[in-house]
């Protein structure tokens, strides 16, 4: 039943909806924004998530996790989109966990995974250096210093950087022009000397940081997945990242559309509901169709993370490209169909537009992934 949820996955989905519906949503998001929350998420929401075991979903049972599937976690990612729920879930419990599970040494896993699963320790990826995602572009350098390394460079758009305990940093370990074998990943504790992290306020009011690394001293045990393997590991982790972002974008699209549809049924102009105007009906029907298509590709891509094959990268890029396009359409149509009220800060719909745009851009937008799809398909 590849394109249906199994019982475990349905259960996770139902509980995510029920929980977030009571504990998250636009009002909480507004509170965090207007209160200038320094951590960028609600401690009590996070505590609840820990109670539900969410930080442990992807962690294998050997390290105190639940060992659930990406499809299960994807249900949470989708609802996180619908309910605008900011938390360290994406950076730490999806990206951090995935990279460790995939490439960590036994020691690294033992040291970090149980605390991550318990929601006590935060990890994140620090890989992008330019305004437009480009994993090939790495100026960060790790120079050999005896058996140690000295790491220097600047990383941008690091999700949750300023609240994380450890960063996974990509850096060049050789001057080889070919990125494929010259990149290595390092685990860098944010408390290390030479690490400076600045939170950057973003349009979605979530956590994003710039990380400056200056001669940070790293031991061999901080290498993740072996010297020169960074590129290969990253391409797998980025497929995971983009598929979960696609799930979040799907949630954003569904919820923006749901709100718009209600508004169409409720707002009166010229003595009738505006939803009775055929031009709006056809646009709504088209959008609904597109969202149905997004549901299928997102589920397929998530399933493919759990059963990796040659087509996993292509499916991840398809899912991201498609949901980017449709989330942009859904949120733009939402504002337009809400009319003036949709333009006001007081009304919630703008939050979806703002968050969608950041999720779209993170780790490659529609253009990036459409291009990658072509490359992976040989044209």
């Amino acid at each position: 039943m590849e394109l249906l949820l199994n019982q475990e996955e349905s259960m996770v989905r139902d509980s995510a909806i029920e929980f977030l519906n009571t504990h998250a949503g636009p009002s909480l998001h507004r509170e965090l924004r207007d209160g200038n929350s320094s951590r960028g998420y609600s401690d009590s929401l996070w505590d609840h998530m820990i109670d539900l075991g969410w930080p442990a979903v992807l962690v294998s049972e050997d390290y105190g996790g639940l060992g659930f599937s990406h499809v299960a976690m994807g249900q949470i990612s989708e609802q996180v989109g619908s309910f605008l729920a900011s938390s360290p879930l994406f950076a730490s419990s999806i990206l951090g966990v995935s990279v460790l599970e995939h490439s960590g040494t036994e020691q690294q896993k033992k040291d970090l995974l149980p605390s991550i699963a318990a929601g006590e320790l935060f990890l994140t990826l620090a890989i992008d250096e330019a305004p437009r995602h480009n994993p090939e572009l790495i100026n960060c350098k790790a120079e050999k210093n005896g058996s140690d390394y000295l790491l220097s460079g600047v990383k941008h758009y690091v999700v949750d950087g300023h609240i994380s305990d450890n960063l996974i940093v990509s850096a060049k370990t050789s001057n080889n022009q070919v990125t494929k074998n010259s990149t290595t990943l390092f685990i860098v504790p944010t408390a290390s000397e030479g690490v400076e992290i600045t939170r950057v306020p973003m349009v979605d009011s979530r956590n994003s940081s710039t990380v400056v690394l200056e001669n940070v001293l790293l031991g061999e045990h901080q290498i993740l997945g072996g010297v020169g393997n960074g590129h290969n590991i990253l391409s797998i982790i980025l497929d995971i990242a983009n598929t979960h972002l696609a799930a979040e974008l799907l949630g954003i699209s569904i919820e923006s559309f749901r709100r718009t549809l209600s508004y169409l049924k409720e707002r009166k102009q010229f003595g009738v509901n505006i939803g009775s105007f055929q031009a709006l009906q056809h646009r709504a029907a088209t959008l609904w169709s597109e969202i149905e298509l997004c549901k299928s590709i997102v589920l397929k891509a998530l399933r493919s993370l759990d059963e990796p094959s040659l087509s996993t990268p292509r499916l991840a890029s398809s899912a991201k490209a498609k949901t980017c396009r449709i989330a942009a359409l859904a949120t733009n149509e939402a504002v337009q169909m809400h009319g003036g009220i949709g333009m006001t800060d007081e009304f919630d719909i703008g939050f979806f537009l703002k968050r969608a745009r950041v999720a779209q851009l993170l780790f490659g937008d529609q253009r990036f992934h459409t291009k990658r799809f072509s490359e992976l398909s040989g044209f």
């Binding site: 039943m1 009906q281 056809h282 298509l293 498609k322 044209f379």
Partner: protein
């Protein structure tokens, strides 16, 4: 479950013995397809073997009762059969049959026992090919506005009117046809679904030439055609319910476009024709649009699969209008891109010109309910707007 596995092994074995190798490669040309009917003939001996084996097994209509010649399989067994057929890429024995896929299921659901005994076995045996008489010149999208009149003469009706867009009427033996049997009631009432032989006196068929040069459709003139009352499916004046049932079926069929096997994906076609430069298709805007199309195509295929699974698992499904709408728009986009790939080479007007299927594809979003009608259906029935 153990029984199902047995069934799978038996089926696999049977197919191994009865499906010739040449019936396991995709159809390339239209003429290789077998549609059945009085005027049909086999393209090859292998085809005859394959079609006759499937017919005698009842597997052209796997779930229909054995008493009418069907396979008598359960839904689960049918699924296994489909999987096994697809595993060896077996060709459909009887193609896109309006009988087996449309009026057959309707007769099974709504028809009298007499109708079932008369018509179902002949459909299964490929003896009678069916066509559909729905649209009329003044009722295109507004199907219920039909004006073909069937006047009551006791045990029979006398039918007068005109049907258009009847697919392959010139190659079919019987028609299932919507007629007005009550002229007073509102437009959705007073409609009946009747069956008649195309060789009846008063039936005239004229093929319609399309902009693509082909004539897959006809106009059918009905001039005092006599139709026995026993040939009414379901109740008299209650035909609209059956019509709607059939329309949903039709949408599902049309949503899945392209039953001629394509040997190449669109991007392969582009690479073949335009070549690569540094591993990339040399026309970058075409490259982007082809990638977007292939992503959308995969999304649509997956959605058909997902929706079918959901219907099977929960019985709920109201997405046929969406699949039809999106599938036909996709097919039009595909042909536009194909034209762009081949440039001037696509603009020649030879028999196998790429322009012909391109022109033909423009009709996809018109036939079987226009895209506009599908969007109306989605708005009203699914989204509750109106």
């Amino acid at each position: 479950m153990h029984d199902l596995n047995d069934f799978r092994l038996e089926t696999r074995d049977w197919l191994e013995n009865h499906c010739p190798q040449s019936m396991r490669i995709p159809v390339v040309e239209e003429k290789e397809k077998y549609y059945g009917g009085r005027r049909s003939s086999y393209y090859s001996d292998d085809q005859r073997t394959w079609v006759e084996s499937m017919i005698s097994k009842g597997w052209v209509a796997p779930t229909w009762p054995r008493e009418y010649g069907g396979g008598g399989l359960s839904k689960e067994q049918e699924q296994v059969l489909k999987e096994e057929l697809s595993a060896i890429k077996a060709r459909s024995p009887i193609f896109s049959s309006m009988g087996l896929s449309m009026i057959g299921p309707a007769i099974l659901e709504f028809g009298s026992e007499e109708l079932k005994r008369e018509h179902l076995p002949k459909m299964i045996r490929g003896e009678i090919r069916w066509c559909q008489g729905y649209s009329e010149p003044n009722s295109g999208s507004d199907l219920a506005g039909l004006q073909t009149r069937a006047e009551d003469f006791g045990d029979h009706f006398i039918v007068n009117g005109q049907k258009v867009w009847t697919s392959s009427a010139d190659k079919s033996d019987w028609m299932f046809c919507l007629v007005r049997t009550d002229f007073e009631s509102g437009k959705h009432f007073g409609i009946s679904l009747v069956l008649f032989d195309m060789e009846s006196t008063g039936v005239t068929v004229r093929p319609i030439k399309l902009i693509s040069g082909a004539s897959p459709f006809c106009e059918t003139y009905l001039d005092n055609v006599k139709v026995e009352k026993k040939q009414v499916v379901g109740e008299i004046n209650k035909g609209w319910t059956i019509a709607k049932y059939l329309l949903t079926h039709e949408r599902q069929n049309i949503g899945d476009i392209g039953n001629i096997a394509r040997t190449q994906t669109l991007s392969e076609e582009a690479v073949d024709s335009l070549g690569l430069r540094d591993g990339q298709l040399s026309d970058s805007s075409l490259r982007t649009e082809i990638a977007e199309w292939e992503i959308d195509y995969e999304c649509h295929q997956l959605t058909m699969e997902r929706v079918n699974l959901e219907i099977k698992s929960s019985g709920v499904g109201n997405t046929s209008a969406m699949l039809k709408y999106y599938g036909t728009e996709l097919n039009k986009r595909r042909h536009e891109l194909e034209m762009s790939i081949h440039g001037g080479a696509a603009l020649g007007w030879g028999e196998d010109s790429i322009a012909r299927p391109w022109l033909r594809s423009k009709g996809n979003s018109i036939e079987g309910g226009t895209s506009e009608i599908q969007l109306n259906i989605i708005s009203k029935r699914i989204l509750g707007l109106g």
